[in-house]
Structure formats: C-alpha cells, structure tokens
Amino acid sequence: MDSFISVSPLKILEKSSRKGLGKGNLGVLIARAGVGKTACLVHIALDKLFRKERLVHVSLEEGPEKVTAYYNVMVSDLVKALNLEDEAEIRWIIDRNRMILAYLNRSFSMERLERSLTSLVDNLDFAPETLIVDGLDFESADREIIERFKDLAGRCDVEIWFSALSHRHITETNERGIPYPCERFDDLFSLIIRLDPDPTGVFLRLLKDYDAPVAPGMAVRLDPNTFLALD
C-alpha cells in the first residue's frame, strides 16, 4: 500500500514539520457540515491501518454500521483509484486492526471511553496506537475534556484525531489565526487542519503545525467526491 500516500489527503501531513502527528499528541480537522470531515478522518485511519497499526474509531453520532459503511466506500474508491487487486485482503487487515466504539444518545463520557480502552487491552490484547474521535461537540466542549484527552494520549501512548464542526456564519479567529470552534484550546492541539470547499475543489489546509510557522498556501487539493488528493 505504498501507493496510498500518492492519493491520500494525508499528503498535507507530509508537509508538516514532523511529517505527522505522533504519539501523545492531539490533532483536529475542522470543517463545515457536509464538507467531508468523516471521509477525511477515515483516510487518516486507513493510513494507519494499512501500516497494520491498531486503531480505535470512536463515534459519538453514528452507529457502527454507518461507520463501517464509510470505510467500505473509501476502500472501494481507493481500490479503483490505485487499481489494487486484493480488496479482500485489505478489508481483512482493516477488520483485524480496527475497533469501533460507538456512544449513542449522549452516552459518551471519558470514564466510559477509558473503561472500554482498558477492556480492549485486558481482554483482547488490543492496544491502539491511534484514536479517531468523530462527532465530539466542540461548541459545547469545555477545556477540561480536551485536557483529559491530552492526558489520555500521553498515558496510553496514542495519537488522537478529532473532527470539529464549524459554521459558515461564524468567521472569527483568535490571534493565532485559529478559527471557531477550536480557538479556545488550540494550544492543546499539535496539528490543526481545515477542510475548505472552493469552486475548484476541496482544499485541506494546515493551520497549525506544532510551534512551527505555517507557510501560507500549505494545502492539498482533493477530489470532492472521493476525497483523494488530486495534485
């Protein structure tokens, strides 16, 4: 799957100063509703899974069937784009290395998540290297919960990627140029990227790169249907 990076939206991370997020750190992908947050997060997940790294996908809005459907669609697009032959083998690798934890109807809490992660390690010997957290309500999230995720990332030696929902009508940014809804705790995130639709495609822009300055125009253009990199 070396060819994956040639079409993966993760090319944007290749442009970052440390070529990725790294364990103990938090990253966030900001986008408006319907632009493709989950699709991009799934690409981040696939990159890890293809390296046979273990990953937990935490879904706070959708049940496992929908999450699995997202992965299936993304994999089908990849198989077509890269002309891959052994789709069954790819799906097997994904099933072996991915665990979906869904929390429906506001049943999410950090205690529950930690208990499930402990249970995965104790009962299944499944120690993830990455957590994908999709659907956390950043608008109502307080600083404490993000700090607890940061603490979890350090203690469990995982990198954690989030999706955050922004709104067209809220345009303010903080003094460091980080937009709503992450402007209140951007110091806790190592990487912040934003998905911007544009008449010529969808752009993935790097907004924060650890403490390194971000050059303007640090972006990757994506196919709006498959979310695979075009350039």
Partner: protein, 688 residues
C-alpha cells in the same frame, strides 16, 4: 365482495418477549374474535390464542406464524403473528413476503435491542411500511422517548410520536392523542371502554410542542397540510393522509405508546393500522414469467384477472395439511381447479377457510389481496398457484444455506416411522430445514440455521409426532476450496478383456470468483469428441461432493479443459467421466486446498458492566470483535465468530452475565479455518 381498500394484511414483528403475543391477544379481544384473555405464560394454563403450538406455550415464545382474521372500524384485518427469535427467521421472512404492513413492537424499557435490528433489516428487505408500538410503558424504567431516539439513531427511521404517555411506569394510565389533542383512557375490566377527555393541564404544553413536531414531520408529505398549518385550519383527515403518505413511502414511522398487558393504547394502535398501513392495491406486486426469462409481470389486485396465489405457510392438523395462501390476483373459490406451477399438478380446492389461530371458518370464495387457508392440498411452502390461464411464479424467497447439522437415531421401529413422517413435513414447511441419510453411516442427518432451530424440530418430533430420537453432537457444515490454479493431464486407460476404456483430459482447475462450479470447454479440433464433453463436466461436478482433504463438499471451483484424446473404439462417456475424476485427483492436492468454516455474525446485548466479560468470552471463541456500541446502560457488541465455537454459548453467556445478556446470530460467510483447526479436522478424519 368487500372493498379491497378496506383490507389490511399486517404482521406483528418484534424482539422476543416484547409482548407481541399479548398485543395480538388484546387485538383479538377488542375486535371480538375471542371472549377471554390469557397471558403468554398464563397462570391459567390456557395460554394466549396465537400461540397455537404446545411447545410455544411452554416456552412463552411464538415459533410458527399463525394467521388470524379480525375486523375493526369497518376494515378487515389479517394478522400474521411472526416469531421473534433469529433462529426462526425463515418464518419471519416468509411472513414479511406476504404482508403489506407491520406493527413493530418495541419495549419501552429495553428499547431497540439486537433482535429488533435483525427484524428491521428483514422488513427493509421486503420494503414493509410499519408503525411502531412502544409497549410496556407501565414497567419500571420505561422511557418511550429514549426508544424514539433509538429508532432514529440505531434503525435509521424517521420516527414521529403520534401520542405521548399520561404518566409512566406504575403511574401509566393513558395516552394523549396528538391528532385529536385529547386524552384517552381505557376503562372496564379489560380496558374495553375508551374514555376521551381533555388533556390534563400539566401535559398540555408538552402535548402542544409534540403536536407541532408531528405536524412539521407530516407536512413533508403533504402540501395541503403545510398550507393548512400556515393558515391554521388543520383537520384530522389532512393529518391522517399526510402520515399515511409518509408511512407508505417508508419515510416515516408513526409511533404509538401503550401497555398491552395493562390494556392501555391497543385500540388507537388498531386505528393506526386502518389509517396508516397500506391496503393490498397500495403495494405494487410482480410475478415472474418463466417462459420469458423470468421477466417481471406486474399483477393487478383485482378479482377479475387470472388467479395468482402464493402458498407461504403449511401446517399439519389432525384433519390434513392446511396451506396458507396469499391471493395476489383473481380469486380462489371452493371447487376451483388450481395448478401448482412448480410441478404442473392440478389440484381441486375442497375447503377454503379463514383462520383464527386454532379455529377456522369456512368461506366459499376469497379475492385478490386476501390471506386464507386451503384444506387438504398437497404442495410445498413457497409454491405458486394459478388458475391455468397464466404460467407465472411469485419471485423466489431468499433462502440461506443451512450451516449446522445433527445426526438422529430413532429409538425403535415406531419412532423410525414417525420420524420419517415428521421430517417430510418439516422439510415442506421450512426450506432452511434439510434432511438426508448419510450414505456411509446410514444415519439420518438434519440441517438448519442454528442450534435452537434444530432443537425445536427435535422437540416437535417428540411432541407432535411421538417420535423418540436420540441426537448426536451438532456438526458444522465445513467446506473445502482451492486457493490457486493447478494443471492436470490425465489418461484413463483400462484393458482387461472385452471393450476397453480410454479417455485423456488436460487443462487446469482454479478458484472460481462466484464460489460456484464453473466449467469451460476450450478443446479445439475435436481432441475430445463433443459428445463426451458433458461426461467430463459431470465427472468434475461429482468431485465437488467430497473434497480429498477431509471429505467435505468443495465450493468455488472453475475447471477449464483445453486438450485431450479419444480412442475410436475404447472411448465412452464412462471412460471420460472416470478420466475427469482421475484428473481432479491429480490436480486437487496441487491447488492449495483449504478447509472453510461458517462464520456467524453475532450481536450480544449486555448491561455495560459486563462489556469486558462478554468481549473476553467472544475472544476465547476465536471471535473477531468489530464494534461495541453503548447506549444508555446497555452495550451491544458485534463480532464475527466461527459457528464451531458457538455451541453452548447461550448457557455460557447467561452464567457470565447473571442472565442479563442475550445474543443473536446469523450466517455471515465462509472463511478458511486456522492451521491448528485444519490439522485437528484432518486427524479426526484419519481416526474415523
């Protein structure tokens, strides 16, 4: 003939123990089909009317789909009571095939449970419009609003509350009808007296808010209602029409609340069946024309067209076979001649009856749209009947292959005879139940979809047919398959006096993409004469029955024959058949043969405190956990587990979780067994 638009064919489908038999019983009581009510596990020893089989009464579950008929609000309603356990899903699938609509019962405490997911998937497959009835609102922990959220989140429905409860748990005493904006109470010893009053003041604000939500949702399906909402002249009829339109298009699920056990909310649910579920002409139906490549032919729900009817359920009674049929077109009357499309056999309709669980009412004719039963007709479940004017067949139902088998030994000669009768009957009733005699051991083998599925038939054999049998250990239906291409070039030559035998075949075998048997003839220049090619194919096909690894059936093999040789005198069909068998023996060991086992998709629903314990129990069974979903205080763990590891899991799960967890299981796919298991199977074979 009555107006077919005033007919409803409905199913009551739900999670086990969510109260469907109790609800059905109440419906029959209020529609005056019965005059006393019993409980499912009745203290009076009578049991609810729909549970017609002794075994069902004992277990408190419903195994067979008993059909029954009643009338409500000037409408005729046929109710098919469907089983709730996943091991009997063929019963559910069959019932859904002939239904036009359904009541999906959900438990106000347990909510959308794993079984509800399976049943809902089945309803989606047959595009059955449904209304939801949130039952058991009188129970401690009841929360119908949470169930509505779960309908949306877990089943992907667009649920719309048509009522709100008045009180909950021990205080549950009635419902607020959001269409009429009235409180409805159910008085009398059995709730038969419906009392309509003003909405209690403390619920008025909530009711107004919920009505607005309901009108918003319903307006999506009616411009007239949208206009009426804006102009503030909404009528009950406008709401009914809009909700009906949303329900029929499967884009809305109206939700009702109640407690069948406490006789609350059943009559409004019956009103909803009449208002919102489809009549037969509302549902387009197609037959297949076998004379024209199974082209789809739309059927008209009229009494005049050529008759087309489907036998969807057989039942043995002391008086002979009872065949439940759904008439899709035309009519069926006493004395009519009908033709069974499968066999071409002509049958005469002796008695035509309308069923009410165990009782029956003779009728002289039934028309398109109706569900009735024929008496004394010899046929199979799934057969299509016509009056001979057309040769159509109803589309075949999805029938999964059995995954588990069990050896039976009758205790004595009498038991042997009775067992044979029973097996013949069950195989006709249930296409997922198969039976055969093992050629080597001489044992009778039954096969089905799960342990419980087979256990129930064994018990029915004892109780209904007086056949005492002992059973062996359940056996998993393993398969063998190839993983790579292997060439063959085999000559069958025999010269032992008299006419000789000669045939040479060459080519290769390889895995087939479709998982079936494929045969490709690429022989050029008559190297194998054309008349012997079918014998070559037959020879290879016969090898699929028993692989050379551990003698399990072989699946997914493609054979390409590209060369060969014949002898002008000694070649024959028999010689080429033998050559093909020899060629298979030559190539198969080189084709990387593997053993495959059935993998089951399981969903375990457990209080969250046992999440870790359950995960561990699945892991110990070579299971691959795919996900865990937490919702309220419950977790649902979905996993794939080899069937061979699932024997006795129900007992294990009960003891691990103090009986609080349950699981469902359905076939997912075949997968290669791990090396250690393959070795164990091979050595077991060697020991035999």
């Amino acid at each position: 003939m009555d107006d077919v638009r005033k007919l409803r064919n409905i199913g009551i489908s739900a999670h086990i123990d969510s109260g469907k038999t109790t609800l059905t019983e109440r419906i029959l009581y209020y529609t005056k089909r019965i005059f006393a009510m019993h409980e499912v596990r009745g203290k009076d020893g009578v049991g609810a009317t729909m549970d017609s089989m002794e075994l069902e009464k004992e277990r408190g579950i419903t195994i067979s789909s008993a059909a029954t008929y009643c009338e409500w609000g000037g409408h005729r309603i046929n109710i098919i009571d469907t089983p709730g356990h996943v091991d009997f899903t063929i019963e559910v699938e069959r019932a859904l095939r002939v239904l036009d609509g359904a009541i999906l019962i959900l438990c106000a405490v347990g909510g959308v449970q794993s079984q509800s997911l399976t049943v809902d998937r089945q309803m989606n497959r047959y595009k059955v419009p449904r209304i939801a009835f949130v039952n058991k609102c009188d129970r401690s922990g009841a929360d119908p609003y949470r169930v509505v959220d779960q309908l949306r989140e877990r089943l992907g429905h667009n649920p719309v509350l048509m009522q709100i409860p008045i009180g909950l748990e021990g205080d549950f005493r009635g419902v607020v009808d959001l269409v009429r904006m009235k409180a409805v109470y159910f008085d009398g010893p059995h709730g038969e007296e419906v009392r309509v009053e003003d909405i209690p003041a403390e619920l008025l604000e909530e009711a107004e808010k919920r009505r607005e939500d309901m009108l918003d949702a319903a307006s999506m399906f009616s411009d007239e209602l949208t206009e009426a909402v804006l102009e503030d002249h909404v009528t009950e009829d406008l709401i009914h029409d809009a909700v009906r339109s949303g329900t029929l298009s499967l884009r809305m699920t109206p939700v009702f609340v109640g407690s069948a056990y406490k006789n609350i909310g059943v009559q409004p649910a019956l009103d909803a069946v009449v208002h919102y579920l489809p009549s037969p002409p509302d549902v387009p139906v197609h037959a297949l024309d076998p004379d024209h490549d199974e082209r789809e032919i739309p059927l008209q729900c009229t009494p005049d067209g050529p008759t087309v009817a489907l036998a969807f359920k057989l039942e043995v009674t002391p008086y002979g076979q009872l065949t439940y049929v759904r008439i899709y077109q035309g009519s069926v009357g006493k004395g009519d001649d009908l033709y069974i499309i499968r066999s071409g056999k002509k049958i005469k309709v002796g008695r035509l009856v309308r069923m009410h669980a165990d009782e029956m009412e003779d009728i002289s004719r039934a028309y398109a749209g109706d569900i009735v039963a024929l008496f004394g007709v010899e046929c199979y479940s799934g057969d299509t009947f016509t009056d001979g004017r057309v040769n159509y067949t109803m589309s075949s139902m999805f029938v999964p292959e059995p995954v588990i088998s069990l050896a039976l030994s009758p205790r004595d000669k009498k038991a042997q005879d009775n067992m044979s009768k029973a097996l013949g009957r069950f195989a006709r009733e249930d296409p997922t139940f198969r039976t055969h005699v093992d050629r080597e051991s001489g044992e009778t083998i039954i096969s089905g979809m799960g342990e419980l599925h087979l256990e129930v038939y064994v018990e029915r054999m004892r109780r209904e047919f007086n056949a005492e049998v002992t059973t062996g250990m359940p056996q998993v239906a393993y398969r063998e398959s190839l993983t790579k291409r292997a060439d063959f070039d085999y000559t069958h030559k025999k010269q032992t006096g008299g006419a000789g035998q000669y045939g040479r075949v060459a080519g290769f075998i390889e895995p087939s993409r479709e998982g079936t048997f494929e045969f490709v003839n690429q022989v050029k220049g008559g190297a194998i004469p054309t008349e012997f090619i079918p014998a070559v194919e037959k020879g290879f096909r016969s090898c699929m029955e028993k692989g050379l690894l551990v003698e399990f059936p072989v699946v997914g093999m493609k054979v390409t024959v590209n060369d060969g040789q014949a002898h002008s005198v000694d070649s024959s069909e028999r010689a080429f058949l033998a050559a093909a068998v020899g060629a298979f023996g030559q190539a198969y060991p080189k084709a990387g043969p593997v053993i495959l086992e059935p993998i089951m998709k399981i969903a375990v629903e457990t209080p969250s405190e046992f999440q870790g314990t359950v995960m561990s129990s699945i892991n110990q069974r070579r299971g691959l956990i795919m996900s865990s979903t937490e919702d309220g205080t419950f977790s649902t763990i979905e996993a794939e587990v080899p069937l061979a590891e699932m024997f006795g899991y129900a007992t294990t799960l009960r003891s691990l979780t103090q009986g609080k967890a349950e699981f469902t299981m359905e076939f997912s796919r075949y997968a290669k067994v791990p090396e250690a298991v393959a070795e164990e199977l091979k050595s077991r074979k060697r020991r035999k």
